[in-house]
């Protein structure tokens, strides 16, 4: 059975990837899962400078999901290059670093510095975190601004030969338009979805339940919305689409492949079960075997209408 997938220059042994912000920098997961058996790992988003993140409470459970407002809490580029990278260097699987900048120049500097590290061969450009504000756009999210998406990606394309993955938001008028913009600007792949903006209120105190007031919704409750976005994006572009959003088990994962995902990312499910991604990989294999499909490639986009 052939599970191999190519994303830009990345060659993945299998299409199951740990999503950004749900697996730390790999080390945090080592007591719970053998990461080397997965396709790849995307790190927590790093920014040029340290960010302290949003005030607590930062996470709230919802019916079938999770609302979070972490606010890109991270130690910054230096902390990554001096501390976090050492564990990642010893991994046998591709490491994808997620980056976010307040300005285009910050994105560029992050990409330039990361390109110097030999173990990093791909960058996921986080254009869609709902918990921070960006300069250089009048939109709440960079991923809602087609021009900003184009500008950032084309600058990054000139900066690095690493594989570039644009992480998009589902919360846009037309995902096809944004996905095309990312492709035209030089992205090797797009990944979606990031979380949906949302909020909850404590009716006793009349205060928002999250310290950051609003947050991003993830988990099984967003899966149907995510599948629709993945299908729309798949129909719009010729680069690989990495699908995610509420994948809890192999059946969910298979739905994403059928809708056009070349690979999938496991996010919130890691919080419920840190070993789940390997269970999902096994389940995908079983499905392919049962359906007598020889290669995962033959499942991608096979939606019958």
């Amino acid at each position: 059975m052939d599970l191999k997938i190519k994303i830009g220059k990345l060659k993945l042994e299998n299409p199951v990837i740990l999503a950004s912000g749900t697996a730390g920098f790999g080390k945090e997961m080592k007591d719970f899962i053998d990461i080397n058996k997965l396709g790849a790992i995307v790190t927590k988003t790093i920014t040029l400078n340290k960010r302290k993140g949003n005030p607590p409470p930062r996470v709230i459970e919802t019916p079938g999901g999770l609302l979070n407002s972490i606010g890109l809490d991270n130690g910054g580029l230096k902390d990554f290059m001096f501390e976090k990278i050492s564990f990642l260097e010893n991994l046998k699987i591709p490491v994808i670093v997620s980056i976010a900048g307040d300005t285009i120049d910050e994105f560029v500097e992050l990409a330039r510095e990361l390109s110097k590290a030999r173990c990093i061969r791909a960058i996921e450009i986080n254009l869609s975190c709902p918990n921070i504000r960006h300069k250089n756009t009048k939109f709440p999210l960079l991923a809602q601004d087609r021009r900003a998406v184009e500008k950032i990606i084309s600058r990054l394309r000139k900066t690095t030969t690493n594989t570039l993955i644009a992480k998009l938001s589902p919360n846009v008028a037309d995902i096809k338009e944004i996905a095309k913009a990312a492709e035209h600007a030089g992205a090797d792949a797009i990944s979606l979805i990031n979380t949906y903006p949302g909020m909850l209120v404590d009716i006793n105190t009349m205060k928002p339940k999250l310290g950051g007031v609003t947050g991003g919704l993830s988990g099984p409750s967003v899966k149907p919305l995510a599948l629709k976005c993945v299908r729309d994006a798949y129909n719009a572009v010729n680069i690989p689409v990495i699908g995610m959003g509420g994948i809890m088990d192999a059946r969910d994962a298979v739905e994403f492949f059928i809708c056009g995902a070349s690979a999938i990312q496991i996010g919130t499910a890691n919080f419920v079960n840190p070993g789940v991604s390997l269970e999902i990989l096994e389940g995908i294999k079983e499905y392919l075997k049962k359906k007598k499909i020889k290669a995962i490639k033959n499942l991608i986009g096979k939606l019958k209408i």
Partner: protein, 258 residues
């Protein structure tokens, strides 16, 4: 690997709304420190969606006990579990209490079922031949648990209730303060506390006033329990720290109380 399936040995109601659940953990128990916790999935459905953290109440050779109060859906489901049922457990997680060496006596301050991790600590202290004074406060006598077991263990137990239905009538910190005055003359008394935030804040104040070292075990909304989601942040003097990974036990001077 720190994820395992654990068979429930017993799940007993010990007081109205309070339960002690015991599960088999032959490989885990010997590596578990007082103050550490387990993140337990109570249901294979998505309702409730996340795991729930429970601190180790008793650590035996082959098993772990947790003490919990039914406060919502997850703990209600847990309370209905039977002997032989299997739990999906992550742990032991977190830093746990670090006992300072050369301490002659220790104050343990609990608010209600905040006594849960302090029992395991008391056991360790008494085994180490130090004196353990435990202060348990609650709204009413219904909120006081584990006091008998702690007495049997050899700890000196002080109780307060806000309505006076058991022990001293008032707040537990009123009782602690009396002993702080005496203890501050003796060197090396450490306070360990677990309970609601307002109580911990008062205990931290007392500790500062009487110059006693103080460790508090904190709670915060938590998702992963293993340091990946960064959800359970608390404000400290050196920035946000994670209850699940940097804690749950913190030096009280480190915390910025809000």
């Amino acid at each position: 690997m720190k994820q395992f399936k654990a068979k429930i040995i017993s799940n007993k109601k010990i007081a109205p709304g309070h339960y002690i659940l015991s599960f088999k953990a032959p490989k885990t128990a010997k590596n578990t420190k007082p103050g550490q916790f387990f993140n337990i999935r109570v249901s294979q459905t998505y309702e409730p969606f996340l795991r729930r953290p429970f601190s180790a109440h008793k650590i035996a050779r082959n098993k772990i006990e947790i003490l919990y109060k039914v406060v919502g859906k997850a703990t209600e489901i847990l309370s209905m579990k039977k002997k032989g049922d299997i739990l999906d457990v992550l742990g032991p997680l977190g830093n746990g209490f670090d006992l300072e060496t050369g301490v002659s006596s220790v104050f343990l301050v609990a608010g209600g079922h905040g006594v849960a991790p302090l029992y395991a600590l008391a056991e360790q202290i008494i085994r180490g031949k130090s004196r353990a004074l435990i202060f348990i406060g609650g709204k009413t006598k219904k909120h006081i648990v584990s006091d008998k077991e702690l007495k049997e263990l050899g700890a000196k137990v002080y109780i307060s209730t806000e309505d006076g239905s058991k022990g001293y009538k008032g707040l537990i910190t009123d009782l602690v303060i009396r002993h702080c005055k005496a203890a501050s003359r003796l060197a090396m008394t450490t306070i360990y506390a677990c309970g609601p935030k307002p109580m911990l804040k008062e205990v931290a104040k007392l500790a500062r006033r009487y110059k006693m070292p103080c460790r508090v075990s904190l709670e915060e909304y938590m998702a992963c329990g293993i340091g990946t989601c960064l959800g359970c942040a608390v404000k400290t003097r050196t920035g946000f720290k994670l209850v699940c990974k940097d804690g749950p036990v913190f030096d009280s001077r480190e915390i910025i109380w809000t």
